[in-house]
Subunit: 146 residues, 2 copies
């Protein structure tokens, strides 16, 4: 018989969730010594790549609500890692930016996370990595276009 049913699509969903969960766990392991949670790291990382980004856009990239991102930013602001202009922006926006100490911290955290990701893919050939990226992108885009 053909094995089309051996790779049930719904099984793939569980596999994606399992991979994401264990990756999240490993990231948390290496970020904890830096006093950072995974969402906090994602926030600082996005802020590093796109300085002056808005809080709402930040929330979208970190896959959380605006409100959650706001309390997250308040915490980072209290620790002197993020600065937000108090005066209004063009569309009531308050641009956020990293401080110098945050930039150094992000550099360190980034290296740790990259090591985890590298370990995750250490059994894959370069071509496999490229294909995995392409396949996942296809799945994601297919779900995005309702």
């Amino acid at each position: 018989m053909k094995d089309g049913s051996l790779t049930a699509p719904e099984e793939l969903g569980v596999l994606i969730k399992a991979t994401q969960a264990i990756l999240h766990q490993r990231m948390d392991d290496v970020l904890r010594p830096l006093e950072l949670s995974v969402p906090q790291y994602a926030c600082l990382q996005a802020l590093h790549d796109s300085p002056g980004i808005t809080s709402s856009e930040l929330a979208r990239r970190a896959f959380v609500s605006r409100q959650a991102m706001n309390v997250l930013l308040l915490g980072l602001e209290a620790r002197g890692l993020v600065e937000r202009s108090d005066d209004p922006g063009p569309r009531r926006e308050r641009a956020a930016a990293l401080t110098a100490t945050a930039t150094a911290l992000v550099r360190h955290a980034r290296a740790e996370v990259a090591a985890v990701a590298a370990r995750m893919t250490s059994d894959l050939a370069a071509a496999d990595l490229i294909q995995l990226r392409a396949l996942l992108t296809t799945c994601r885009d297919r779900l995005l276009t309702l």
Copy 2:
């Protein structure tokens, strides 16, 4: 130049998270009419495939803590979807099982979720699906073996 850096491993982590997030969203969309959350569905599904499973094992499969799974089970129990034996088990375990109405509900929910998963992979050939499954499994197992 070689393109080894074009597929940075850490970029893959974000892609996995993005795919899982949007899949979670779509699952929530189809489960909401059934009055089920994604964790609740995962719980019922696992209980359907493995009747008499323990609460802790259930928590592991749903990627939540024992305590969270317990409150989740209390809710399902109150709705008459799950039954747990009150008398002790071999290792203080209380085996949980689905009721008849829950079995019918799971069958319905399963079909809806399967449709979402099928749509997610509708742009992939059968061979691609098999390979995606293999690649993701490799990544997950690599992270599991610390």
